[in-house]
Amino acid sequence: MTEPDNSALIKQVPFVDYLVLGEEPYLISNECNQCQARYFDRRNACARCFGDQFTKVKVASSGVVTSFTIVEMGPVPYVSAVVDCDGTPVRCTLIGVDPTPEKVQLGMSVELTTYSMGEDSEGTEAIAFGFTSAR
């Protein structure tokens, strides 16, 4: 797989560099060539097997909620969750779901979605990701 190329989208920036924008946005990870452990940040060597060769791989865009909490300390409650995306755990905020224990369930199916965070002074739009109930 080639390096993600966000340069064509000069008017948009992803919230984090492991979110790849485009028609179908997706998350990308650094996968260890030796043991296939995946990392969202760069590693000098694999924390699992110490191999130092990595390949960028696409992470599945749908998964199952394996843990969550509803953070109620700020002005607006939100759901923090761990989603198992076909074997790759992803941390995210659940969006488009009522932040109540009645609406958020362990084991629920969710999928990746993106939304605009607004534009900066140069007109560049920032795009963030979240997971939402699968259709």
């Binding site: 920036v13 560099d17 452990a37 940040d41 109620e72 969750a81 905020t93």
Partner: protein, 400 residues
């Protein structure tokens, strides 16, 4: 653990809570001097000093403490290891004594936290005019709330919820009942920051911090210090009979960090390193979880206590809910857990915690725990975990 045994001869903790009139050094000095008195020693006996204080990790609190209570020129190790800082200071003292570099070591943990608010929370970054990627994820803003949460109550809430997803049986009420137990226990501990008994309704209807943890289900930031003096066989045998009689044997002393596990980059894995530490500790001590008369474990949140029943092998794998439902971890149950009140009500002055939980075990094994004494206690385990992660497990035994 080698041929030579290590003993605790002196142990003390200050009252946990708010100490507006005392600074870090006052608190550290209070615990240290009391521990020395408990061991019938002075600073001239101490050959090595391990000191933990997380909030001023670069300040050389160990040397500052020496200036308060006695400068003898012995080596000082100032340590910092998140919530396991106190246990790490003790490990340093134990290692030095075991290595034969000193006959007597002192470990001190101290923290001033009252009013510090919830830890792990960061203020908003100054907003620039344009989106500027920064940090290891090239994030253009704070990830808190945007990509889940990093705050402690949220992380540990997810640790408990993950257990529920894996094994089932958890609920908001179950976690609240764990908290109910610890608050009930604390009413018998005069050194606890909070000694108020809460009803289950009060706990569940209190302010929600991070579901399913309400405020009383979170450990309390507070001030406090704890100190401990450890010696080798030779030193112990040279002490007066009444000091030797109160000696407590350290049958196991273990510190682990987290090995790689799938998903540990997403949600800290507090389970594997705790299980590893427990396994090593049981092996070192030559005893099993069934032999423990009491356990002090790191209930920084009610959700954390549940998973550690399992990690410390107090129950079968996956059986933590049944273990709690059986009543075992109540003080009159089969396996009393956190009879001190735990971090939720005894309080959690971070660097003091890892020594204070061992102090609690010492008190019971000596038969000096007063109203909360677990009758006939002979063996106890103390566990502490600092996110990042570091896990300390100590197993103590009453002298034969």
């Amino acid at each position: 653990m080698g041929s030579e045994d290590i003993w605790i001869l002196g142990s003390n903790m200050t009252k946990f809570g708010k100490h507006p009139e005392k600074d870090v050094l006052d608190l550290a000095s209070e615990a240290s001097v009391a521990a020395l008195r408990d061991a019938e020693m002075t600073m001239s006996d101490i050959g090595v000093l391990g000191v933990g204080n997380l909030m001023n990790a670069g300040a050389g609190i160990g040397q500052q403490l020496q200036k308060q209570i006695g400068q003898t020129g012995v080596p000082v190790f100032n340590v910092s290891n998140a919530c396991a800082t106190g246990a790490t200071a003790l490990r340093v003292a134990i290692m030095a004594v075991k290595a034969g570099e000193a006959d007597v070591g002192m470990a001190v943990g101290v923290e001033k936290l009252a009013g510090a608010g919830l830890l792990g929370q960061r203020g908003p970054k100054p907003q620039s005019e344009t989106w500027e990627p920064s940090g290891r994820f090239g994030a253009i803003g704070s990830t808190e709330g945007r990509i889940g949460t990093n705050i402690m109550p949220g992380v540990f809430a997810q640790v408990g919820m993950e257990y529920g997803h894996k094994y089932g049986g958890t609920s908001f009420e179950l976690f609240a009942r764990i908290s109910e137990k610890n608050h009930a226990h604390s009413t018998l501990n005069p050194l606890a920051a909070y000694q108020k008994r809460f009803t289950l309704d009060e706990i569940m209807n209190d302010v929600m911090i991070s579901y399913p943890n309400t405020r009383p289900m979170c450990s309390g930031n507070c001030d406090g210090a704890a100190a401990m003096i450890v010696v080798n066989d030779g030193k112990k045998n040279s002490m007066p009979a009444e000091v030797q009689k109160r000696a407590i044997k350290i049958s196991a002393s273990v510190l682990t960090s987290d090995p790689w596990e799938e998903g540990c980059q997403i949600l800290p894995d507090v389970n594997t390193l705790t299980r590893n530490a427990a396994t090593q500790a049981y092996e070192q001590a030559g005893i099993g979880p069934e032999d423990l008369d009491l356990v002090e474990l790191h209930d920084c949140f009610a959700t954390a206590e549940l998973v550690h029943y399992d990690n410390l092998m107090l129950c079968e794998q996956g059986g933590a809910v049944d273990f709690f439902e059986s009543g075992a971890p109540w003080r009159d149950g089969a396996k009393p857990v956190n009879v001190s009140g735990g971090l939720q009500s005894k309080g959690h002055p971070i660097a003091a915690t890892g020594i204070a939980n061992i102090h609690e075990i010492v008190m019971h094994l000596r038969g000096e725990a007063g109203d909360r004494q677990i009758e006939g206690a002979k063996v106890g385990l103390a566990h502490v975990i600092g996110l990042g992660s570091a896990c300390g497990v100590h197993i103590l035994e009453k002298a034969a």
